[in-house]
């Protein structure tokens, strides 16, 4: 079918009355307006997130101490990190916090969720109460939590040591925040108190999405509670477990407020986290290039661990 191109559209005729920019605007304004509406976000994102992120990556290859012209040093900052005992200690500490989340906090959260889901909720019908109770520690400001635990952990007049002394005498005092061998465990206990409830809520939501029929059918076939848990519940919770594991590990490697306020990273750097060391390097020592290198090393570690977890949980596998 032939198209008649000899009659120009009215709009084109009108548009041609303008010239240059006016003509371009006349032709395109309808198409540009939607983008103008969403442009503020992209502009702000570019200025306040994309640019700093990319710039700090660039700075990480420079020596920039104090107010000085950045001097390109290639991978020197990253190489120096490998020989930095304080950085190594911060990685070890952050890893211990992550392991604490992985092997203490998450199992505890799961057990709590299973107990609430299986027994307490049907028995007492207090689902809303448990949800609220689990969520309260997270609603409390991290600063307040740290100060509160500081009072609990205090060596001389802390609540925990006072209780221990009343039971076992003066020798039972524990240097919760002063003893290098104990301090990491003290911080892990705080993290357990603060985040176990939240992770329980995730598990609880996952458990409630598992059809009861599956469990009932398994029970009718003679499966006991353990078999149901390990053969049905846990496999079906795999996506939730993956989510909780990745967020918990990420959170552990990014911990800052708790050690910063409780211990200042001490004693002897035994509680300093990677983010805290990054902060000290950037602001207390004003070594911006090195701090950027710490930041990108942290990114590398967190991304690597996330990929390992994704692979371990079969997130890349196609379901057939």
């Amino acid at each position: 079918m032939a198209v008649n191109q000899s009659r120009p559209l009215q709009a084109d005729v009108a548009a041609k009355q303008y010239s240059g920019l006016g003509y371009w605007w006349q032709r395109n304004q309808i198409k540009i307006v939607p983008y103008l509406y969403i442009a503020p976000f992209f502009i702000l994102f570019a200025i306040f997130l994309a640019y700093p992120v990319l710039n700090s990556f660039w700075i990480s290859f420079h020596k920039q101490q104090g107010i000085s012209t950045p001097e390109f040093v290639g991978l020197s900052n990253y190489i120096n990190l490998l020989a930095d005992p304080r950085f190594k200690q911060s990685v070890i500490n952050s890893t211990v916090y992550a392991l604490g989340s992985l092997f203490l906090q998450i199992p505890l959260a799961f057990i709590l969720a299973v107990v609430v889901h299986s027994w307490l909720v049907p028995w007492l019908n207090l689902k809303s109460f448990y949800r609220l109770a689990f969520f309260v520690p997270l609603l409390t400001s991290g600063v307040v939590v740290a100060l509160m635990f500081g009072i609990l952990y205090d060596y001389n007049s802390g609540l925990i040591n006072s209780y221990l002394v009343s039971l076992f005498g003066e020798g039972a005092k524990i240097g919760w925040l002063r003893d290098p061998k104990v301090v990491k465990f003290s911080i892990i206990l705080l993290l357990i108190w603060q985040f176990t409830g939240l992770n329980s809520l995730y598990f609880l939501a996952g458990l409630q999405n598992i059809p009861r029929e599956l469990e009932e059918a398994a029970a009718m076939d003679g499966a006991n509670a353990w078999t149901i848990l390990f053969r049905i519940t846990i496999p079906l919770l795999r996506p939730v477990i993956l989510f909780v594991v990745i967020t918990a590990i990420n959170g552990s490697y990014q911990i800052f407020t708790q050690p910063y306020l409780l211990t200042g990273g001490g004693p002897r750097d035994q509680s300093i986290s990677m983010v805290m060391y990054l902060y000290n390097t950037g602001f207390s020592y004003f070594n911006l290039g090195y701090a950027s290198a710490i930041g990108y090393t942290l990114v590398l570690i967190v991304v690597t661990l996330a990929l390992i977890n994704l692979r371990f949980f079969g997130a890349f596998r196609e379901d057939h």
Binding site: A46, I47, G66, Y260, N280, F286
Partner: protein, 464 residues
């Protein structure tokens, strides 16, 4: 057929949109960064002598930053109460206060970017070191502005912490001459002679005190090197030398560490200072130990032990029982005092009103107006001409009517000179982690190994 950049029905493609966004974003970014002075570029100092003075009827608001309210309030009150405002009604102060770390981080960011720089920054001595890194220092050199009045200052407290390579970048108004506060009433009861002349006397008294009263004569900090620093300066040593290198890796350092270690671990006459992890010098539980009759002496600057009767220190209950004395001798040169702490007033090079800022600083720090802070906080000024003022020489009831101003006047002339270091925060941390804490917490006496480890770490820090 559609070429790149075009799409069906003439709509803008995503690529085109992203290009447009990047262009707009880039333009915004460039415009946002335009006023800044990159660190690499020389920041021209617009000092009082160079800046053109505004007409007297032009209102000038001088912006000042500090980490505590009173640190700026006393400046404003001094301006009003000592005649500055009458003389210069067009100059006022805009006070900006934020928590300690936040305000110092803001200062670093402002200096690095050149954006949003105030006219006056109050920089705590521990955070000054960071400003001395790099080729460019963002503060005005005040040496010429201070001029001959430099002779009126107790330099060890007034300028040394904020000086680097011969230039003065700030003035502190507190003379932080260290003394030993001791609970005289307890020692009198036991027949122990006071004041203590030497550290050895303290050891002897400590034995009696522990035996008779189950009290410790002193506490030493294991997570903060303040005690070590004070004793090192009083022994004639230096925490940092003129090149910024650590000055405690020597026999003097060993002697001080050994004294502290033996008092805590071998003799049991001293205890580890009760502190918290985030407040390692004198949190409330530190003073609680004194209220509970556990410790009988404490050394430090006036902000620490100058007024123990304050509610945030020992407070009511031990009135008339305490006294101040110069630091004991017997280690090294045995100077009667040392310096510890302080906060400067400094003028950033990119300040908008540097001349007015200097006028305020000069008036509040280099005239009698400095006494405003004495009236408010009880500090001992670094400005020597006012040290004989009656305000500073009133008897202090809590110290049994002792005129502590007389003691500080004497110590002003004995104040040791010190140096700052660009690596001060890192060096302090390294010394605490590698030497001080192992010695005092673990009773580690292998000083040679500890010092060797510290030396390695210090070299690594400097090489970065």
């Amino acid at each position: 057929m559609f070429t790149s950049g075009q799409s069906k029905r003439g709509q803008m493609s995503r690529r085109h949109f992203l290009q447009l966004s990047a262009a707009v974003g880039g333009a915004a970014l460039v415009s946002a960064c335009a006023p800044s002075a990159p660190g690499g570029q020389s920041q021209q100092a617009a000092t009082g002598s160079e800046a053109a003075a505004p007409p007297a009827d032009t209102q000038v608001v001088v912006e000042a930053w500090a980490h505590w309210e009173q640190g700026l309030q006393w400046l404003e009150d001094a301006m009003k109460n000592y005649g500055f405002t009458d003389e210069h009604p067009n100059i006022s102060l805009n006070k900006v206060v934020a928590p300690f770390n936040e305000i110092h981080d803001k200062m670093l960011a402002a200096c690095a970017s050149g954006v949003g720089v105030p006219d006056i920054m109050r920089v705590e001595q521990g955070r000054m070191a960071a400003f001395f890194k790099g080729q460019e220092i963002c503060f005005v050199d005040l040496t010429d502005l201070i001029g001959d009045k430099i002779n009126d200052l107790v330099l060890g407290s007034a300028v040394d912490y904020w000086s680097w390579q011969g230039a003065i970048y700030g003035i502190g108004n507190e003379m932080n001459a260290c003394t030993l506060a001791y609970r005289k009433a307890v020692f009198d009861e036991l027949g122990i002679e006071t004041p203590f002349k030497t550290w050895e006397d303290l050891k002897v008294a400590g034995e009696i005190l522990k035996r008779e009263k189950d009290m410790y004569i002193i506490s030493f900090h294991d997570l903060h090197d303040g005690d070590f620093q004070i004793m090192l300066y009083a022994a004639g040593g230096l925490m940092f030398d003129e090149n910024g290198d650590f000055g405690g890796l020597n026999d003097l350092g060993k002697e001080i560490l050994e004294y502290q270690r033996s008092m805590v671990h071998d003799l049991g006459f001293a205890t580890i200072a009760p502190v918290t992890g985030d407040s390692t010098w004198s949190p409330p539980i530190y003073w609680e130990a004194f209220r509970q009759n556990q410790i009988a002496t404490t050394m430090g600057a006036p902000w620490h032990n100058g007024k123990l009767g304050r509610d945030d220190k020992i407070g009511p209950g031990q009135e008339g029982e305490w006294r101040l004395q110069e630091l004991p001798g017997g280690i090294g040169e045995g100077l009667p005092t040392a310096t510890h702490g302080g906060t400067s007033v400094s003028i950033p090079k990119l300040a908008q009103h540097p001349e007015e800022a200097w006028m305020i600083i000069e008036f509040t720090h280099l005239t009698r107006a400095v006494l405003e802070d004495t009236q408010q906080r009880g500090i001992i000024p670094t400005y020597k001409p006012v040290l004989t003022d009656p305000i500073l020489n009133e008897p202090y009831d809590y110290y049994g009517g002792q005129v502590i101003g007389e003691l500080y006047l004497k110590l002003a002339d004995a104040m040791p000179r010190i140096y700052q270091s660009p690596w001060a925060p890192e060096f302090h941390t390294a010394f605490q982690n590698i030497v001080l804490t192992p010695v005092l917490q673990d009773n580690n006496q292998d000083y040679d190994t500890l010092f060797a480890d510290l030396e390695t770490e210090l070299q690594r820090i400097k090489s970065m």
